[in-house]
Symmetry: C2
Subunit: 200 residues, 2 copies
């Protein structure tokens, strides 16, 4: 085994994704992931605290980038538009790089298949929402409105993301998210209304 | 020990809340909770699958009530208003019953102090959001808009709840939630805007 292990993180991540899909997240050990990536168990633990966190690698960096986006936005811009603009680069990564989009889709399949992983992902989203809200507060938005703008922006992001995952026509994630943002406008202005109950 | 154990669920819940506050959630065993409630360990497990779920007791009932609220709402009502109206009884429970409000506050303190519990709570909220979205879909709202209306309504609920928790003046939860709903309107119509970055 070479001491210098080029792209160890990427190889570990890719090995983990393959093994978490088959034979499955619960069945795989760190030793098996490391072996498939051609590194030692020790190398795995140099980069990731546990099996679960491989799937959330890079979350801190995303949080920092989105926060910077909010802090760098122009005065007078709508808080919700700022959140949408700060989140947009996440969709662009997938829309501009099919290999990355494939990683994102695999990762999502794995997370949706396990309750513990789903809850951890919800925790990461909550942490991202708090980071966005703090950045908005630094830009003079009141605490409750800041939290709500972060939550509403992330809800639109997630609604768009989910549609992108399910989209048989493979349209871009950014497009789905922009549509979800428009939906949000229609929901809040009251133009989305209930119809007669359909009996099933 | 009597075979008939009146109010066993309430006593177990109250015993768990006290012990999770002191000495703390991580330190307490099911046997200790049962002993304090004056029931057997077996009785505990008749009502709760584990230590964690004591804190989420009644969630299924809340989900059913909120869903019924959506299904029973009038045709033509705004989807977001319907979600707000369906969630309102949760706030009323605390606003009309100080003893229940105290339970809710204790529960919140315990959950916020433990990552695993916070993630489980996020999972319960996500499940509630899905149930609301399904009910809205049955009322003719498109899938993405239904999910977004549920998420946005719950975000306003949570923003109001958080302010209620922190409110030194002890104003009602329902009032905080209605204010958060108004905030949501101002966020989405773009009237909440960014100010110059305050250097800290």
């Amino acid at each position: 085994m070479a001491r210098w292990e080029p792209n160890a993180v990427e190889r570990l991540r890719d090995a983990a994704l393959e093994l978490y899909l088959d034979p499955g997240y619960e069945k795989v050990t760190v030793a098996e992931i490391a072996a498939r990536a051609g590194v030692t168990r020790r190398t795995f633990f140099r980069y990731f605290p546990d099996k679960r966190e491989v799937l959330f690698f890079g979350t801190d960096r995303v949080e920092a980038l989105v926060t910077q986006g909010v802090l760098a936005a122009s005065d007078g811009t709508s808080a919700l538009e700022v959140v949408a603009a700060a989140l947009a680069p996440i969709a662009e990564l997938s829309d501009e790089d099919p290999a990355w989009a494939a990683v994102v889709r695999k990762r999502n399949t794995i997370i949706q298949g396990n309750r513990e992983l789903r809850e951890r992902e919800l925790g990461k989203h909550a942490s991202l929402a708090s980071a966005i809200a703090s950045a908005l507060e630094r830009r003079g938005v009141a605490a409750r409105a800041a939290k709500l703008a972060a939550d509403a922006g992330l809800a639109a992001f997630k609604a768009g993301f989910d549609q992108w995952i399910d989209d048989a026509k493979q349209r871009k994630m950014g497009k789905h998210i922009r549509e979800a943002m428009r939906d949000l406008g229609a929901i809040v202005d009251g133009s989305v209304t209930l119809k007669k109950l359909r009996r099933e």
